[in-house]
């Protein structure tokens, strides 16, 4: 589904990703971990097409298409979704209005008929159960006045409505208490099918107790320094990131993942 080859990217002329290789197949959950400044969030934003990040080398293939040639909205309509670390407020625009517009864009893209507000309301009510969200959130302005936990739940609600093929969760666990973390993780697990894939970007192992990854990739200095299964995350939890950094300094970047 997704193939990242030798990706170099940065912001304001500063290189952050220095040759990332990653393959994600349908039905898989990948965790991207790493210390602060290692390039985790940069990778998420490059996948989503954030305009401030510049790709200087390498390529990203998504379902055989060159993802880097697609605008952020084209990527979204093609099924790439990013749950934001800091969801943005849009004053005066109701959550329901925003979600319906986004949902109908996707339907148009698929050549399906758009839903009117009443039809959409039913769908939204159904999907809101995934993250245990109250109906009152639908009439409120997008993320305005939402608590940190509510914002993150709202991100997963959007994921539930848009049913992406590839979901990138950028530090979705940051700022969540344990109850909210459970709700969010439960929601994400419900949305995983054999036909989609999830990339979980996180600093801590905590979230991975709930969303169990098939693969763990550890970033250090813009490269994948270590790869393994879910047990790698547990190892990091006990040893900390310094261990990776030291190991990395010892032998340089590991061979690209296949």
């Amino acid at each position: 589904m997704l193939e990242i080859r030798n990706l170099h990217a940065g912001i304001d002329g500063k290189e952050i990703l220095k040759g990332i290789n990653l393959t994600v197949n349908k039905g898989e959950i990948h965790a991207i971990m790493g210390p602060n400044g290692s390039g985790k969030s940069t990778l998420a934003k490059v996948l989503a097409g954030h305009p401030q990040y510049e790709v200087t080398a390498g390529e990203i293939l998504y379902e055989g298409r060159n993802l880097l040639e697609m605008s952020p909205d084209e990527r979204a309509r093609a099924g790439v979704f990013m749950a934001f670390q800091y969801p943005i407020e849009v004053p005066g625009v109701s959550n329901a209005q925003f979600l319906r517009l986004a949902y109908n864009e996707k339907r148009k893209h698929l050549g399906e008929e758009e839903l009117d507000p009443l039809e959409f309301k039913d769908l939204l009510k159904e999907r809101a159960k995934v993250v245990e969200m109250d109906a009152s959130f639908m009439t409120r302005s997008v993320n305005e006045g939402f608590s940190g936990g509510e914002k993150k739940r709202n991100e997963i609600l959007q994921m539930a409505v848009l049913e992406p093929k590839l979901a990138v969760l950028d530090e979705t666990d940051s700022g969540l208490d344990i109850d909210a973390l459970r709700v969010v993780a439960k929601g994400v697990n419900q949305l995983l099918t054999p036909n989609n894939a999830i990339i979980v970007v996180t600093h801590y192992q905590r979230l991975l107790n709930y969303i169990v990854p098939d693969f763990v990739h550890v970033l250090a200095n813009g490269r994948i320094a270590r790869e393994g299964g879910k047990e790698l995350a547990l190892e990091l939890e006990s040893k900390g990131y310094d261990w990776i950094k030291t190991a990395d300094n010892g032998k340089g970047a590991v061979a690209p993942a296949q």
């Binding site: 849009v90 517009l101 986004a102 864009e105």
Partner: protein, 478 residues
């Protein structure tokens, strides 16, 4: 594509010219011009006196060019045509006798006038250059006592009412443009809602400038008697011409005891091209007088057009407990300039006013809010709430807020809030990441920003206003 580039793509779809034979007087303004207008319109002597008095005063006045935050070349008032009317039959038995070319023009503008196609629930007075060419539902309204007709007819058929109220809110010597209008105004709409009547439909006037060399000077007078209610809408467009044209209107509203007037405007005059060539100078005086107790006047305006907008729809809150409201969206793009706002003059006890202003500036435009809240000594317990928000798109435009507050008693309260924001790249990216195109994302953010004002508009107008903002900003939304 950057937001700024998207903005540059806008198209003005009302820019066409109607090819029609017109009765046009020579350009320039003297007392003879005024006599000629009076003669053409077959007006009584008292109107000539009203006009000449205004004209003589106008000669002593100077154009307000220094205090507004506007910049434009000097207007040559002798180079303007003050009267241009499409040639048509003097008396029309039915609307179907109106020149088909005029009917086609208004239909193209979305205002069908002929009997079969009229808009349901909205009566329209259609003004083309200097004259009203048709008014719909006139007879139906008359049955409930509501008078809705062109100003020309009002002077002929209801002289006592016109004499009583004309100039009672905006005196002929009020300001430079109001004096000019009083001297040369050629038509407009007159609405009279008698005591206790709730006007059964929306009343509206659609203003169209067609002639490249003429100005438009029209007058609207709305009188709501005790306990009555009326909702009035106003729309405007003009063809694309390279030279600037002057539109100097005067609107007067009078609300007696317990009466309510709701006045909504969607202004979409031609704004000039990207470099600022051409476009309408929209210099308008609008003022309402809450003359009676518990009366209410509410202005809602969506200003998207004109090269320059200079207007301050205001309320004189004379009656005790009267209420004045001003809800405004002013959008400027390219080289447009706007200096707009309101004046709330509190005279009566416990009078209340609310001002919500949303300014959006894009391109190289300049957008200023200017507002006065004045509470006189006898206006005990008066209250005002003002909120002025500006949004900037790009880095080459400007937004200013000039609030003037004068409170002359100590039992009143005045609140003022202001904010300036930008459409951020993060906001656009967020919406795009959900599959919404950049253009739709801009439109969504702007409409959200203006929501408090759009909520005040009648339903169809709100939809039109949202669509218009989208069009003005990207040219491909909607």
């Amino acid at each position: 594509m950057s937001t700024a580039e998207l903005l540059a793509k806008q198209e003005y779809k009302y820019g066409f010219v109607t090819d029609i034979e017109s009765d046009v007087i020579p350009r320039g303004l003297t007392e003879d011009t005024i006599r000629l207008i009076v003669e053409k319109k077959n007006e009584p002597e008292w109107m000539l006196e009203f006009r000449l008095k205004a004209y003589r005063h106008w000669l002593t006045m100077t154009e307000p060019k220094h205090w507004p935050n506007l910049d434009y070349p000097t207007i040559d008032y002798q180079d303007i045509i003050y009267y241009s009317a499409p040639k048509q039959k003097a008396t029309k038995k039915s609307l179907d006798e109106v020149d088909p070319e005029l009917l086609r023009t208004f239909e193209k503008l979305g205002i069908p006038l002929s009997e079969q196609k009229q808009l349901a629930g909205v009566a329209v007075d259609a003004v083309f250059d200097s004259v009203s060419v048709a008014t719909t539902y006139k007879e139906k309204l008359k049955k409930v006592g509501v008078i809705f007709c062109s100003f020309t007819e009002a002077i002929r058929d209801y002289p006592e009412l016109v004499k009583k109220y004309l100039g009672s809110v905006v005196p002929t010597n009020d300001n430079f443009f109001a004096a000019l209008n009083s001297a040369v105004f050629s038509d407009g709409s007159f609405c009279f809602i008698p005591k206790g009547v709730r006007c059964p439909m929306e009343l509206s006037t659609y203003f169209r400038i067609n002639n490249a060399e003429s100005g438009q000077f029209e007058r609207t007078l709305i009188v709501a008697e005790e306990g009555s209610y009326v909702s009035y809408l106003e729309g405007c467009t003009a063809p694309k011409f390279d030279r600037n044209q002057l539109h100097a209107a005067v609107v007067e509203l009078v609300a007696l005891d317990d009466a309510q007037i709701k006045y909504s405007t969607v202004q979409n005059w031609y704004a000039g091209d990207e470099e600022g060539r051409g476009g309408i100078y929209n210099f308008v005086t609008k003022r309402g007088k809450c003359a009676g107790r518990n009366s209410k006047i509410s202005w809602t305006q969506v200003e998207t057009g004109s090269a320059i907008t200079w207007k301050y729809p205001s309320c004189i809150l004379a009656g005790d407990n009267s209420i004045g409201e001003f809800y405004s969206v002013a959008l400027t793009n390219h080289a447009q300039q706007a200096d707009t706002g309101t004046k709330m003059i509190h005279l009566g006890k416990n009078t209340r006013s609310t001002i919500i202003s949303k300014g959006i500036a894009a391109g190289k435009s300049n957008n200023s809010y200017r507002g006065l809240v004045k509470v006189m000594p006898k206006a005990e317990g008066a209250r005002n709430y003002t909120q002025c928000d500006s949004m900037l798109i790009g880095s080459t435009c400007g937004a200013n807020t000039f609030p003037y507050i004068e409170v002359m008693n100590d039992s009143s309260s005045v609140e003022h809030e202001a904010s300036t924001s930008k459409i951020s790249e993060e906001q656009l990216f967020y919406l795009q990441q959900r599959g919404i195109s950049q253009e739709d994302a801009v439109s969504l953010i702007i409409n959200g920003f203006c929501k408090d004002v759009f909520l005040q508009l009648p339903m169809e107008f709100a939809v039109e206003a949202q669509r218009l903002l989208g069009l003005k900003l990207e040219g491909s939304v909607g």
